[in-house]
């Protein structure tokens, strides 16, 4: 895996981009004059003796020609004496400013593999050589030109995938982020040890991220704009309904492909689609890209899983607050490790406004270990940082991460001019921020403790995201985006990309219908709530098909939304962001159904029941009080619609109605209203379980422990 790229462990892909000014004359003089001082390193030749063959060629061959050679990403070759001499002034300037070789992390703050860095002595030698007229030196001393294998650097891959069609990168214009889908045709589930990436148009391909998604997950948007793939830098896997899916690493200019450490491997499901998200940087000349990837599989499942600790969690969704236009902003987050861990890598992420990343570990004995420090974040260098040796951090170690943002007009990378207020989000004009640490607990028996810790962290993050309003903003943005998305109006069925029908419904109020769904759908749904996945899937399929035919079918929307919410809340395989995405869609569908048909009891019932049932066990979801209020309004409306004929209702229907209304009022602290409805149960449903429960409530007048809705026992359709 190109473990170099931070994408390897981007949770994003599971669910959801200092340089110094070109050396001025003064700077060059400074470098040169330093070069005139005696060179101190023991092996440094006296500056008058600095020649190409003896000193410069070894530096260039070791540090530059991986990229600066014919057919590679860098603009010019630096193989021959003439090549280097012709660029001498430029090389002295860009090495003196440390723009080249490119490496964002601060030297010495963490000890990383493949650090691309020249020593001060090497930089001084280059400056001295240029100043002295760039002598060639004795030809006999010329080192051999490094050999680069033309083929796969990790050996013959187990699976080679190629983009089915070329993508044209225009000569000019803004950078392009585009995703390409390649069917893997895998016949069985596999474990991926490495992905080697071979772009064709190397001058324009800046970096690539890899993931696998369920077959066909992006079928409705792939190629929809007339070109291969689909646009967007939203992390692959951001859309709900693509599971199974997961990240598979990435590649950036200059990166060496690597196998994951310690026999670790990432899962890739059979039949899945391989997705490449590429960042193109137009070069002035139109290019056509058709990349190839080689995938290396492990023979068996790894016995340990690489764990990810993200700080702040989920790319900062719970921590990043408003970044004021024209201002600077800092975000800090800490976590204390529950067990001893070995940290293998640190992958930073922010968008264009990100400025500084700093991560430090403070051990229980008070000593500190530097983990990562980037002083001038550059979205265009999507590097990951792998420690030379795993960093051992004992239980009780505190990790501190600080990320700063520059939203002033003076930041040339600011995507908005003049600067705009910025929130957390997936677009390039939004921001994110986190460092993902890839680690494993030292002891296998600590895995459950880690699991528990990770769940708590994620729960805390989502809770914070709900409280700070980010989830609600993201949902609103997604809804706006879906209005324009191709394929909008498709439901959550089997296959096909999901898009909220909400938008279509909102756009077509004239076509309001509230024809009834077959009774079997309601039975299936309740049976699904009772733990029958087949019935739940049937309910999802029927309602999705109905919505497809009629996007403003209120009952279908309401029941599809209810089923989706249940699915998102109970499916343990979903990633956190998938869960959020489904949650948002589900609530929108139900809300839109209520908007279309506020007096349809079955619409009210779908939303009211599912919210009443799930809110107590979903503390991690956003705006729980708002959901409870919606549920109460639904029960209230059902009650109003049936007032005057309550006596005609079955004991079950009346019991559920009154008990729901009473319970929700009680949970909202509306004790007198709760008392009224529990009182009605006691008088109208004497001798039933409902009355017994009402009696129990009367003793304390506090919300009872979660009352399982009894609908499940009545609706057991298989």
């Amino acid at each position: 895996m190109t473990m170099r790229t931070r994408s390897t462990f981007r949770l994003k892909a599971e669910a959801t981009r200092t340089l110094l000014v070109l050396a001025s004359a003064a700077f060059l003089i400074a470098v040169v004059s330093r070069g005139e001082a005696p060179l101190q390193a023991q092996n440094a030749p006296a500056q008058s003796r600095v020649t190409f063959t003896e000193t410069i060629a070894p530096i260039v061959y070791e540090n530059c020609v991986t990229c600066h050679r014919p057919g590679e990403a860098a603009p010019f070759s630096l193989i021959s004496y003439d090549d280097v001499k012709n660029r001498g002034q430029l090389i002295a300037a860009v090495t003196g400013s440390r723009y080249m070789p490119p490496w964002q992390a601060t030297h010495g703050y963490g000890d990383f593999q493949d650090e691309r860095r020249l020593t001060d002595t090497q930089i001084q030698a280059i400056a001295a050589w240029v100043k002295n007229g760039m002598p060639e030196g004795p030809k006999a001393k010329m080192p051999a030109v490094p050999k680069f294998t033309g083929g796969w650097r990790l050996g013959t891959p187990d699976l080679v995938l190629e983009m089915p069609t070329e993508f044209e990168v225009p000569a000019s214009g803004p950078d392009i982020f585009r995703n390409f889908v390649i069917p893997s045709k895998l016949l069985e589930d596999k474990w991926v040890r490495a992905v080697e990436f071979r772009p064709r148009a190397r001058t324009v391909v800046h970096h690539a991220l890899f993931a696998y998604v369920r077959s066909g997950a992006y079928a409705s948007i792939d190629g929809a704009d007339g070109q291969p793939g689909f646009r967007g830098l939203a992390p692959i896997g951001a859309n709900p309904n693509i599971s199974p899916a997961g990240p598979l690493g990435g590649w950036a200019v200059g990166a060496s492909p690597r196998f994951l450490p310690e026999g670790l491997a990432l899962p890739m499901s059979k039949g899945s689609d391989f997705v490449i998200q590429m960042h193109f940087h137009p070069s002035g000349k139109a290019e056509r890209e058709k990349s190839t990837v080689g995938i290396y599989f492990a023979e068996k499942a790894p016995d340990r899983m690489l764990r990810v600790l993200q700080l702040p969690g989920l790319f900062g969704i719970g921590s990043l607050q408003e970044i004021a236009a024209g201002g600077n902003y800092a975000m800090e987050r800490s976590a204390t490790l529950p067990v001893d861990v070995k940290v293998y890598l640190a992958n930073p992420h922010a968008h264009y406004l990100g400025k500084e990343f700093k991560a430090t570990a403070t051990l229980p004995d008070g000593t500190t270990k530097p983990l990562l420090w980037i002083q001038d974040w550059d979205f265009n260098w999507q590097d990951g940082y792998n420690y030379k040796e795993p960093v051992l951090l004992p239980k009780g170690t505190r990790l501190d991460v600080r990320i700063t943002y520059d939203n002033t007009a003076a930041n040339p990378r600011n995507p908005s001019n003049p600067p705009k207020r910025v929130w957390w989000g997936e677009e390039s004009t939004d921001e994110m921020g986190s460092i993902s640490f890839g680690l494993i607990p030292v002891r296998r028996e600590d895995e459950p403790a880690w699991e528990q810790f990770a769940t708590q962290q994620q729960r805390g993050t989502l809770l914070a995201a709900g409280q700070n309003g980010t989830l609600q903003r993201v949902a609103a943005n997604q809804a706006r985006g879906l209005l324009a998305a191709p394929g909008a109006g498709r439901g959550l069925g089997r296959g096909g990309a999901a898009a909220s029908p909400t938008a279509a419904a909102a756009a077509a109020p004239a076509a309001i219908t509230s024809t009834s769904l077959p009774p079997q759908v309601m039975a299936d749904l309740f049976s699904g709530f009772g733990g029958n996945p087949g019935a739940l899937q049937r309910a999802l399929d029927v309602t999705a098909t109905t919505i497809e035919a009629n996007p403003s079918h209120a009952q279908a929307l309401a029941w599809h939304g209810a089923a989706t919410l249940y699915y998102s809340s109970t499916n343990a395989d979903l990633s956190a962001l998938d869960r959020i995405g489904l949650f948002q869609r589900a609530t929108k569908e139900m809300d839109s159904a209520v908007g279309i048909a506020p007096d349809d009891i079955r619409v009210r019932m779908a939303r009211g029941v599912v919210l009443r049932m799930l809110t107590p066990t979903m503390p991690r979801l956003a705006n729980v009080p708002g959901l409870i209020e919606n549920a109460r309004l639904d029960y209230q409306r059902m009650f109003e619609l049936q007032q005057g004929q309550l006596e005609k209702l079955s004991q079950h229907a009346l019991g559920e109605l009154l008990q729901g209304l009473a319970e929700l009022n009680s949970r909202q602290g509306k004790t007198s209203d709760a008392e009224k409805y529990y009182g009605m149960i006691q008088s109208m449903l004497k001798g039933t379980d409902y009355a017994a429960r009402a009696g129990e409530w009367m003793k304390t007048k506090q919300p009872l422990p979660q009352a399982q809705t009894n609908c499940i026992s009545c609706h057991t359709g298989q």
């Binding site: 010019f76 430029l90 300037a93 060639e136 070069s283 000349k285 600011n414 995507p415």
Partner: protein, 190 residues
Amino acid sequence: MRWERGLLGAGVIALLAGSVSGQTRDIDGRSMSPFQPAGKATVLLFVQTDCPISNSYAPEIQRICKAYESKGVGCSLAYEDVRVEATAVRKHLKDFSYSAIPATIDSSRALADRAKATITPAAVVVDASGAVRYRGRIDNFYASLGKPRQHVTEHDLIDALDAILAGKPVPKPETEALGCFITRPQPRNK
């Protein structure tokens, strides 16, 4: 190589002679006088075939030259590669869609010297009187090497042309160009 040096020397002499009048020939042998504009001004654009920043400006150079052609502004490209042959320049012109702009290989650096250009890409604007009115970057897309802006906020070349056409002083007659150095021919140093 001896013959190579001899050839280079001959070229230097020939072009030094030309530089007195600022005249040169384009790659097809036609006479070029970038310092004596036929119209209201000439933009002399210093470029290199293998400088990424220079190349990335190709579409913008073409856009500006096309937009100002009807206003009496001519453009010329001066290739400042250390060594480049006409066939390679023709290929570069084709690859980067420079179809309508005359190009010359400034191997002696006569044009660069006269225009005091040290970086590619750079623009030098000469007005009808033959005076150099602007020298520097095309715009501020690059804040520094490797640090492109999301938004260009200063269009220095366009501002200079507009000022000259309006008969006004150029607001910033000199700006710092960012890109690759123009190297002067020098003898091989053993």
